[in-house]
Amino acid sequence: MRGIWIKAILHRTVLFGAIWGVLTAPGVEGLVAGLFAVPATVWLSLRLMPAHHPVALWRLALHLPRFLAGSVTGGIDVARRAFARDMPLNPGWVELPVDLPDGGRVALGGELSLMPGTLAAGSHEGRLLVHLLDTEAGFDRTIPREAADIAAILGAKRTRDGRP
């Protein structure tokens, strides 16, 4: 447990430090203010989002290209339908159980909303509500794969309701 916290503090310090560096570049005077701003931000972030799950950054990096490719496909798919004369749409809902901690389920929902043909509407009793643009195009087939990726990013530990 302690290892997770140390890792989380390190990760977040690097992340917020990098953002601070981007904001205050090119000057160096900003570094002094950063000595106060970055620790305060890390503290706030740990308070709002305690480190319960070890985040595997390399898995996140591996996942990123898939997400970007899916996002481009999703945009093209929607553009194709929007411009088509007869507008091929076949909307409908699916509800599927997603075995992820709560934050992970929300991340999955957000990601699905940017991927082809799927749009999440939050979850209910552990089941993600997904709206499909075309129920016959098999958009929902990719969902388990995305869920598995996010589960891998969040480490193997999975609980049904995700509450610590």
Partner: protein
């Protein structure tokens, strides 16, 4: 060379922005419109930011463009789910 790439990328971005608007206007119900908006718009912003990044003068500007896009994605992911859920809950036509 960078200029050509900028033109191509911003053109793609503009295309997706227009596609998002066309979807928002043409699609038949709230949820399908939300699809068009969420996907096309953020892709449009991403391509435009990428194109402009090639014109940037410092790496900090490039990184700032990345940060802008990341924040827009975060907002889109949350907004899409929240608005979809609210629209799911009740009819509210005025």
């Amino acid at each position: 060379m960078a200029d050509l790439a900028t033109i191509a990328l911003t053109a793609a971005g503009l295309f997706f922005f227009v596609a998002g608007t066309v979807g928002l206007i043409r699609f038949p119900d709230t949820f399908t419109r939300l699809h068009a908006l969420t996907k096309a718009d953020n892709l449009g912003l991403g391509f435009i930011a990428l194109g402009i990044a090639l014109q940037a003068e410092t790496w900090a500007q490039v990184a700032r463009l990345g940060l802008i896009w990341a924040l827009a994605l975060l907002a889109a992911g949350a907004m899409a789910q929240l608005v979809a859920r609210t629209a799911l809950e009740r009819e509210d036509a005025e």
